[in-house]
Assembly symmetry: C2
Homo-oligomer: 348 residues x 2
Amino acid sequence: MTGPLESALAELLERFHDGQPVALGRAISLVENERPGFQDFLHEVLRVGPRAARIGFTGPPGAGKSSLLSMVATNCRTQDEQLGVVAVDPTSSYSGGALLGDRIRMSDLATDPGIFIRSMATRGSLGGLATTTKEVLDLMDAFGFDRVLIETVGVGQTELEITAAADTVIVVLVPESGDAIQTMKAGLMEIADIFVVNKADRPGADRLVKDLRQGLHLRAATAIESAPAHHGLDLARIMRKESCEEPRGPGWSPPVLSTVAQSGEGVEDLMDTIKAHRFWLEESGELEERRRGRRKVRIQDVVDRELRRTAWRSDTVLAELDQGLERIQKRKDTPYSVAWDILDRLLR
Amino acid sequence: MTGPLESALAELLERFHDGQPVALGRAISLVENERPGFQDFLHEVLRVGPRAARIGFTGPPGAGKSSLLSMVATNCRTQDEQLGVVAVDPTSSYSGGALLGDRIRMSDLATDPGIFIRSMATRGSLGGLATTTKEVLDLMDAFGFDRVLIETVGVGQTELEITAAADTVIVVLVPESGDAIQTMKAGLMEIADIFVVNKADRPGADRLVKDLRQGLHLRAATAIESAPAHHGLDLARIMRKESCEEPRGPGWSPPVLSTVAQSGEGVEDLMDTIKAHRFWLEESGELEERRRGRRKVRIQDVVDRELRRTAWRSDTVLAELDQGLERIQKRKDTPYSVAWDILDRLLR
């Protein structure tokens, strides 16, 4: 944060504010690759606060998240909304060749100028995928899209952290996932604003809907604090981190919907529920609470990233690392004693 | 790293070196909860280098990783090997009630005194799950187990980082995973030492074996450097990080095996292949290379963790964070300018 943007970035910023999609694409690359000045650029962009409605889709591979997201996107487009889409799920199919018949819908999306789609590769950044992805979400938001849709696989912690950066989190499940879901539910329960049982025309769908409702009921009855006891993903923690406060504010109880994304069945209901959740977010003050929580996490992430960069770009530190490895080899040191020597230097 | 261990930890260390399982359990809790002195304890424990053969099992949920791991464990036990097992997969079923019939095998394991099983919860640690889990693996190794088996779900980046801490990585797939696998393969290709197509009695197994072999052949033909172009998981990067050098040393080409874990079919073959890989690791110098790479990553992880702890346990920094949030609210700042102010203080 050294002052005014250098001229190339200032020009990019101008075109970004002009609403040129090419400029958005460049800005995303700037951030993804952590090229010089990317944080100054983000600072300028974030002078205006968030405006877009951010909707996250998560769930196990094969749950049909892409199809459902596509249906929602198509629906939003009929309202003439401008959309940004970020796909972190490595199994999602927006970019590249549409291999299967039922994915033609998505290639339609890909050629719609009202939608900007970006697949996130897990680049080798010191910052980590979660922070970079959330910065890309901010870029999309600041660019002026009405909605930003995010798709992640609901398994890894990184992916869950990203999902928690959405205002409305939709957890998509399918009857088939059964066994795996059984335990994943524990984690996904905490993060969901809306549950969708997709492929609801298949056997076991009603059962899953019932199980989910029962699970939600149970959860409401037990204290939130017991969540970390699950040996699944500690979502409660992530949510607490994101929102500073309780996992999800009171007054919203996650509904369980059924859809068949491929035929469009149930998508109208889902749209209504998304709108209702938005209304609740705004009226209850929960939206501002979540945004504040996200800002806090961002400050911490940026500080942590910069500390790492400062450390591992120093020639002295890198030399010390190499010498330390030799000493470990000779059993004179361990990774911990070497780390402590490096820390002594950094924090001296 | 302030010098000698305080007396309670010194006593724990003694009992740990005595081989008391209770002491191992306590040591793991110490590390998981990052209680005072945990890094000093690890330093003492790691004065002796790694000895155990570490075998990682990864793959999508429902691939039968737990069943396969159980078969391998049972087989090792007939050789009277002492085993440590770490399950990071939230869908694994070693602890807690065995719900399904085919899981009785695992409850058998759970009561065998020659096996020490630990499920990792994703605690709310500043260090992050990956580092903590790798520290637990080190504890198990130092405790003196002949083998340490690790199970993760091969989706998230955290989980892949953990898997990369194994000497031998077994990627478990099933015919059903088909579509999801199609793209995950891209990432898993880079990390696998051995592929196992489990549930090989089901339709599509031969096809998957063939596809995998073809994929491996293609991969061998293309430069490793092209791996980051996949929009899947950047395993090449993780592996480079872990091994300092090439993703996997030359001279080992990952075989593709078929198993039916529930009947034990193919498990003998798998055991032979694991032994062959171990032999290759030791003879080629690759094992030492991987261990060196892991030590390097550990030093960096420990430094990064301690930098974060130093930052976010300072009252001054936390006050600055709160004030910054107020200024952002008033549009006088952004998370980036606040982060920069905090960094100025920390690195002054």
